[in-house]
């Protein structure tokens, strides 16, 4: 999966147009970035990328870019 596709999927999970999901965008400005939003993103990462997220790592992500970095090794360059 490419970075662009990952951000598209992220937008779909959070109900946000991908065009507004800039890498520097703070996640806490999105209303859907609550505990259910976290679970939806974990489920998407698990289903689409099959990668394990270390305990606590998702909640340390502050921006969209942090999420991209979190799964970076699984994304196509």
């Amino acid at each position: 999966m490419t970075k662009t596709k990952f951000i598209e999927k992220l937008g779909a999970e959070l109900g946000i147009p991908p065009a507004t999901l800039l890498e520097e965008a703070p996640l806490n400005t999105f209303k859907a970035w609550d505990s259910m939003g976290h679970m939806a993103v974990l489920a998407m990462i698990d289903a689409e990328l099959g990668c394990e997220v270390p305990p606590g790592a998702l909640q340390k992500c502050k921006t969209v870019g942090d999420l991209v970095t979190l799964v970076g090794s699984k994304l196509e360059s």
């Binding site: 609550d34 505990s35 976290h38 679970m39 974990l42 489920a43 698990d46 394990e52 305990p55 998702l58």
Partner: protein, 326 residues
């Protein structure tokens, strides 16, 4: 093996929650959790009352014969004595009946089955009464909407004996205390006796977390299940020398519908084999699996001869799975 559940009469529906938390609608709560209503105890109603009611119904038309009572609860009546002793007396069980509580949540029913099975196999007991009950609703802060939407109260009673016909085997159990603080009531025990000694916090979504109340980090619990549950299912099947195709029914701890549906898809379990039973009762902790089994029995979904894979996982972290041949 006989299973009976009991729900308190008082109901907390999504409409009421939507009225209390106006940024949510009743339908949104259902969409996110798969739960429409949960039963919650009234003031003065304890977990032991729910377990007692379930056991009373179980004993209708049969002798009150049990020589071992196991009570799984995280909301006992007292710090001491063990609530199981109180229940032994209240249920009119003989004083020759052993009785003990054990403190587990979402994995508790599987641990209880494992203990009961071992007692029966070793000859240490002839008839084991396994009770589960919790009143998490009394531990939840009124302004913690993320947990208030999920949990309901309930009690169940299961009677096991060698002659019951059902067979339990291929138990796999595990624990990982590194996740202890992800689902916890921090104050009130010996480590932090006074809730006021610790700070109350509010998270970004407005949920209030008080030290004497239940704290649940839902995403971290979900992350834990993504790793633990597929491994648990694989290990149970390997131990039983069964494939998933040879299992007739799968009953997981009924945490929330979102989590269950993701795990179902991840594991490739057909929807017709997968039991969902939380819409009208919520997550009732150690009672979810016996309530789901009772429902499967009464609706005819669980038939004699079927092989059922059971799995419980959560607070601790703690997990357990087994095969039930009905």
């Amino acid at each position: 093996m006989k299973i009976v559940g009991h729900l308190p009469l008082n109901i907390l529906g999504n409409d009421e929650l939507a009225r209390l938390y106006p940024d949510w609608t009743a339908e949104k709560i259902f969409e996110k959790t798969g739960i429409r209503e949960r039963h919650v105890v009234l003031e003065g109603e304890c977990a032991s009352d729910l377990a007692f009611a379930a056991a009373e119904r179980l004993f209708v038309g049969r002798a009150r014969e049990a020589d071992y009572l196991l009570f799984c609860t995280q909301t006992p009546d007292y710090l001491l004595p063990t609530t199981a002793c109180v229940l032994q007396h209240r249920l009119g069980l003989p004083t020759t009946c052993a009785a003990l509580d054990f403190n587990l949540g979402c994995s508790g029913y599987i641990y209880g089955l494992s203990l009961a099975n071992s007692l029966l196999q070793s000859g240490a007991a002839q008839r084991v009464l396994l009770l589960t009950a919790d009143t998490y609703s009394r531990l939840i802060h009124p302004q913690d909407k993320s947990t208030r939407t999920i949990f309901g109260d309930a009690g169940t009673a299961t009677l096991l004996s060698k002659e019951s016909g059902a067979r339990l085997h291929s138990f796999v159990l595990g624990s990982d205390g590194s996740g202890a603080d992800q689902l916890m009531v921090k104050a009130g025990g010996a480590r932090f006796p006074q809730p006021n000694d610790l700070p109350t916090t509010t998270d970004d979504s407005g949920n209030v977390h008080a030290p004497g109340c239940l704290y649940m980090n839902g995403p971290e619990i979900f992350n834990f299940t993504l790793k633990a549950v597929p491994k648990l299912v694989r290990e149970v099947l390997e131990k039983a020398k069964l494939s998933l195709d040879e299992v007739d029914l799968v009953v997981f701890h009924q945490a929330n519908a979102f989590m269950l549906e993701h795990l179902r898809r991840k594991l490739g379990i057909a929807p017709e084999k997968f039991v969902l039973h939380l819409e009208l009762c919520g997550n009732t902790v150690s009672s979810t699996i016996p309530l789901a089994l009772e429902n499967a029995i009464t609706t005819g979904r669980l038939k004699p001869g079927m092989k059922v894979l059971l799995a419980g996982f959560g607070v601790g972290y703690s997990w357990g799975g087994c095969i039930l041949e009905w």
